[in-house]
Structure formats: structure tokens, C-alpha cells
Symmetry: C2
Subunit: 274 residues, 2 copies
């Protein structure tokens, strides 16, 4: 039986492309409307895995996914980095200068903000739940003045025309996706660990917490703060560190964090996708 | 001549309420559609000041505003903390159970997500550029099945009815607004400083940078990472620290950061709003 992976989005979405990269072309999909639904599909057993964008090199962290990690008892078992090349897509025969409406996922619209400001300053930007689905939607409208932003793959799937390639603000446009499971991953080849950290309220607490890793030469590759709901102006920190939770240096760091009254939740160890 | 303050939103928006709190009821407004427009109004001299939400205790940081601070050469000269009480607002005589559409700013919709999931699970959520303006819009629609989320003040202004009070997920719902100026503020009563920090790429660089403050007992009240556009997986850090840039300990910390090859940009010293 092949793996079934829950993703937010439809066929030819960037999530779909990332899932094929990690699990192969024969893996099945559960297509979900929201990130929350992908977590639910995994939690209730409909899917074996979920794959979820967590960060983009232009847009930054996807806060909703960090918050879902806090509320759900799931493990990160892998990651995929995907170069995101956004295309402006219209009906066959559409003309770029006639476009008055552009539909796409809000993250894709944000990634292409500079292009839209410069080339289509008066076009109305409409948010849609998925990049590829926005192409399907404009295909059904049959209005040559309405365009979408999505992958070349989505344009091909729906027989649409690419009006402009690589319209993202910066070519350094990569998205990091995490692979989620109800079970912790095997740690044999892991070299990266994600964790959540809450310090006590004392002065310098975050500095001392980071010291547990720094003094053992464990590099921090990401630090993201999120508010603690119900506790105004307190923060939880999401950390990615370049170590496996099997490493003795890592285990000593976690012991020292506990001694500092830090609450630590391990999200998983896995192989770096870079 | 009274002060003119650029804000995102309209009359009776939370920005408007926060501006009155800081500048008094007689201050004038430039109402803008976007955060970017408020920065422009200040930069081109149309407004004397801008006031801009930067963080909410439930939703977290407003990334767009952090990115605007990076791109614009402006100073933070003050801050306001406002308790946000969201109301579900309909036409006079509207019934809560008949509501099929809810319009508001995406942040307000996110703040009330749990209420909407529980009480109005099938109602369609529609994003609008401003809370108070969404009330004006539904007033013009005259459809009792369409509601908005905004302040009590906005309901009163447009003669609408509050269908439910305090619908935010958590009563600890505060928004922090920053006051911006083209000129640095007077530092006499300042006890808080905001700055941007970019470390070099070495292992433990952030830990050493935070040590410049921790070893001088300067408390860090906020740390927010944002991606460096054009340099995938590098980050810039926004810090708020409990010190004035006039303090000698603070000045020594900045000197030590420079010696560590950190790039530091001071955003301003001001009086804490808490």
C-alpha cells in the first residue's frame, strides 16, 4: 500500500510538487482546504503523513503552522526545500496588459508584490486558498482579463498560458516544507532537530537558554518567537538546531535547559533537506 | 496647529482609538488603506506622525510592519497598548443565528476564529482592509444575514447593533501600536529601545549578541526574526530592550555588538506604554 499524504492545496500546487519530491510520484494525496485540515487528516488516521509549508525565504515563517504544531501532538520526521518559481497565468490568448484581476494564495501574492506594483499597479489582487486551484478557477471563468499566480505545472494541467515567468520579487524564493507523522522518525541519519522552548520570566533567560546549545557548538539554524495565548507579552520560541536528538551533546543541552526551568518539547529529529 | 497622524483604517478603527489615546481627541487623521500608505504619508510630509499596529498578544507580530521599518528610515518615538474587544455587529434587528457572512480585517477574523468555529461554523469569512470600514460596508448592504467584526465604537458610529460582545478567543487580547516620526524622539523619559540586528554567519552569533545585553542586565522584552530578502535562510532580528539609548550600559552593549561584526540599526528610544 502506498503512502497517503495530506497536503493543503490541489494537484500541481507547490505542496503537491514537494510531496512528490519527498515521497515519490506514486504516493497518494488527501487534498485539504486549510493547514488545519491537513493536521486533522493526520491525527484522525485518514492520512499516513502530512506535508506542510512552514517558511518561505521571502515571506518568512507561516505562523499558523507554528501554532498548529503547538496544539497538535505530532512529529516532524523530514523536510523538503523547494525553489518556488511563480508564473502569471491567463487564458490562452490573454494579454498581460489587459489583466485587471489577479487571483492567488496570499503568500504567492506577497511574493510577487513588487512585480504586481510595477507591471499591474491597478489590477485587483484577490486572495484564494490555493495557487493551483486559482488557475482552475480562472479557467472556469473564461475571462481573458482575469489571471492567476501559480506554478508552470498548474498552467499545464489546466491548459492555460503563462503570461510571465519568475515574477517573484526575488529569485532566492525557496519554501521549506516539513513532513509530519504521528510517530517519531527513525533517528539514524538525522542531523537536525526542531523543538519548542518556553523560558521562565527572568532577565536574560533566552540568552542562557541559547547558551546551552552555543557552548556545545550546536548551531542554531532558526529561531521563531510566537505569543503565548492567554499570557500577554510572553513568548514561546521555536528552534531548529544542527544536531540529532541522539547526539550526546544535544542530550546534555536539554538537561541543562531543564535545570534552567525551561519547558522543552521536542518536535522531532530528521535529515536536513539542504 | 494640531498634529496630523496617518493611520491604517477609518474613523472608529482600533488605530483611530489608539491615536486618540496617545495624541488626544483633537488630533487630526490621515486615513490610509494600507500600512505601506501610512509610512508613505509620513515620509512625504502629509502627516506629522504615523501610528501603526506592530503586534497583537494573540496573533503575534505583524510582519509587514517589521518589513516596512527595515525599508523606511523612520523612528519609533512612542507606543500604545490597547485592549482589543471585538464585537460581532449586524443591522438593527439582525439575528445571530441567521448570519451567513462575516466581514472584517484578517487579523480580527483570526482573533475571533474559535468563536466563529463554534457559533457560526458555516458562515463565510470575508477579509476586508479595516474593521470599522467593514461595519460601514455591511451597513450599506442592508442585508441582515451579513455581519462584521469591529469595535463597539464602530457599531455606534454607523447605527448598527452588537450581536455579541467580546468574541475574541482570549480576553488577553492587546495590540501594541508604535508611533513613528521622521525625527528621533526626545530621550529624557525613555526607558525602552527598539533596534534591528544582523549577526555574521558564525555559529553562536545570536547567543553572543544577546549576551551584550544580558551581561549588563538589560532585559530583552521582544525578539522577532524576519528573513533577509535576497539571502535565503539568513535572518534579521528585531529586538526591544528595557533601556534608553542614553544609558551608558546600553551604549557599551552597542559598542560590543559592533566589535562582534553585528550590523545594528537603532529604531528609537521611547517611554514604555505598559
Amino acid at each position: 500500500m502506498s503512502d497517503t499524504i495530506a497536503i493543503q492545496g490541489t494537484k500541481a500546487s507547490f505542496h503537491d510538487i514537494a510531496a512528490s519530491r519527498y515521497f515519490g510520484d506514486n504516493s497518494a494525496r488527501i487534498f485539504c482546504d486549510t493547514f488545519s485540515d491537513t493536521f486533522t487528516s493526520l491525527a484522525d488516521g485518514t492520512a499516513n503523513y502530512a506535508l506542510c509549508a512552514i517558511e518561505n525565504s521571502l515571506y518568512g515563517s507561516i505562523n499558523e503552522v507554528y501554532d498548529l504544531l503547538l496544539r497538535n501532538d505530532l512529529y516532524i520526521i523530514g523536510e523538503v526545500y523547494l525553489r518556488i518559481e511563480q508564473c502569471l497565468i491567463g487564458l490562452p490568448g490573454a494579454r498581460l496588459e489587459s489583466v485587471i484581476e489577479v487571483h492567488s494564495h496570499p503568500v504567492a501574492l506577497a511574493q510577487c508584490e513588487r512585480y504586481l506594483d510595477n507591471i499591474l499597479p491597478t489590477a485587483i489582487r484577490m486572495e484564494y486558498h490555493d495557487t493551483a486551484a486559482s488557475v482552475e478557477m480562472i479557467a472556469s471563468l473564461q475571462n481573458k482579463k482575469v489571471a492567476a499566480i501559480a506554478s508552470q505545472e498548474a498552467a499545464d494541467l489546466y491548459g492555460m498560458e503563462v503570461l510571465a515567468h519568475s515574477i517573484e520579487t526575488d529569485a532566492q524564493n525557496y519554501t521549506r516544507f516539513v513532513v509530519l507523522s504521528k510517530l517519531a522518525g527513525g533517528k539514524i541519519h538525522s542531523n537536525k532537530t526542531s523543538l519548542m522552548l518556553q523560558t521562565d520570566n527572568s532577565s536574560g533567560a533566552l540568552y542562557r537558554a541559547l547558551g546551552c546549545f552555543a557552548k556545545r557548538d550546536i548551531n542554531l539554524t532558526k529561531l521563531q518567537s510566537r505569543p503565548v495565548v492567554g499570557n500577554a507579552w510572553r513568548y514561546i520560541f521555536y528552534l531548529d538546531v544542527a544536531a540529532s536528538s541522539n547526539d550526546s551533546a544535544f542530550r546534555l543541552a536539554i538537561e541543562e535547559l531543564a535545570a534552567q526551568n525551561c519547558q522543552v518539547t521536542l518536535l522531532g529529529s530528521y535529515r536536513s533537506g539542504l
